[in-house]
Amino acid sequence: MSLQELLTIFISAVFIYNVILSRFLGLCSFIAISKETKPALAMSSAVMFVIVMSSAITWFVYRFLLLPFGLTYLRTISFILVIATFVQFVEMVIKKLSPQLYRAFGIYLPLITVNCAVLGVAVLNIDMFFINGKQVAGSFYYSVFQGACVGLGYTLAMLLMSGIRERLELCNIPKSLKDFPLAFIIASILSLSFMGFSGFKF
């Protein structure tokens, strides 16, 4: 594990292959919740927390359960179950410990179960850091780090988008382009500008 590799993961997860703008993971929540900055930030922090934790958990599940027993074909089922259970668990804990935070997260927490970004990162980690059924050295740290970076990329895109859409509220928009269509067109322009990072190499 070297600093250079970590930097490569960081740049590619946050900018070059941004989860939303170039991989299209978590697009539904991105379009639905990016109308104002505050809920957008609450959602991004919830997503980031769940992605980091689920990257760690799914790594353990894959490494110590699925690989040794030759059950790798159960990857999809086991991962989505683990993630769903984890989200439910987090929801219960937050409800008990801090009702205030629970209210802030609101409906966003259960929504994360069906957020493609979480499962997508888990599957991506396995594809990248387990080659031919063998783990790459330091794969656990890489997985968790990549999870954190993807969460950062999600937050970045959410912030940019909600900032733009807040200003759009005051504009005069053609009736048929209101809400969803315009959001997609803005996302397209954002994604175009993120393409500028694709030449970056270390």
């Binding site: 993971l25 539904c28 179960t113 493609c116 269509p181 397209s188 175009l192």
Partner: protein, 197 residues
């Protein structure tokens, strides 16, 4: 019988999952680079939708209300795994070009949405036609988007060049082109709807 036909056709136009309900866009945008990919993804999603609708409507009386979502997810994930393994075995090329978006059918909102909104309340026959209609609607939407993108992005449809001397606009093969196409299409369908009313 008339009712069943209605369940089938509503998914294609009136409640089209992509353009009207705006559900399950992640795979729609990611794989619509070429028409072949779009058809492959559409068929895979239709199979999962059909299978999960059938099973969910069969077991709807036995599942306790509180844990229904995890149960639906397990049922859906089973069908996704079947699809994944079949695709790996019979068409590895398609599997490679769809990549991680095949396992991601599990979290496609259309599938869970139909299980939750329709299959858990209706009998076997209507759930079957509902699933089939939604699947066909999804596939048609995918074909439309990917045809536009493949034509503008590489000047081809299904690998055949249409016009000689057409200079492709590469950006339509990129992620930002996908977002632009879906945004304009949604706006266009809204315009049609507004005209009608």
């Amino acid at each position: 019988m008339k009712n069943l036909i209605k369940e089938f056709t509503k998914g294609i136009i009136r409640e089209n999952p992509t353009f009207v309900l705006v559900l399950g866009l992640c795979p729609t945008l990611a794989v619509s680079v070429s028409v072949a990919n779009g058809i492959g993804m559409g068929i895979a999603a239709t199979f999962v939708l059909l299978g999960s609708s059938l099973i969910v409507s069969l077991v709807r009386d036995f599942i306790p209300d509180k844990i229904r979502i995890p149960c639906y997810i397990v049922i859906i994930a089973t069908f996704v795994t079947i699809t994944e393994l079949c695709m790996k075995a019979y068409s590895p090329v398609l599997d490679r070009s769809l990549g991680i978006y095949v396992p991601l059918i599990v979290v496609n909102c259309i599938v869970l949405g139909r299980a939750e909104a329709f299959a858990c309340k209706n009998n076997l026959a209507s759930s079957f036609y509902d699933g089939l209609g939604m699947g066909v609607g999804f596939t048609l939407a995918l074909i439309l988007i990917s045809a536009i993108r493949e034509f503008l992005g590489s000047g081809q449809i299904l690998g055949h060049t249409l016009f000689k001397g057409f200079e492709p606009v590469f950006v339509f093969g990129m992620p930002s082109g996908a977002l632009l196409v879906i945004g304009l299409l949604l706006g266009f369908f809204n315009l049609l709807k507004n005209r009608k009313t």
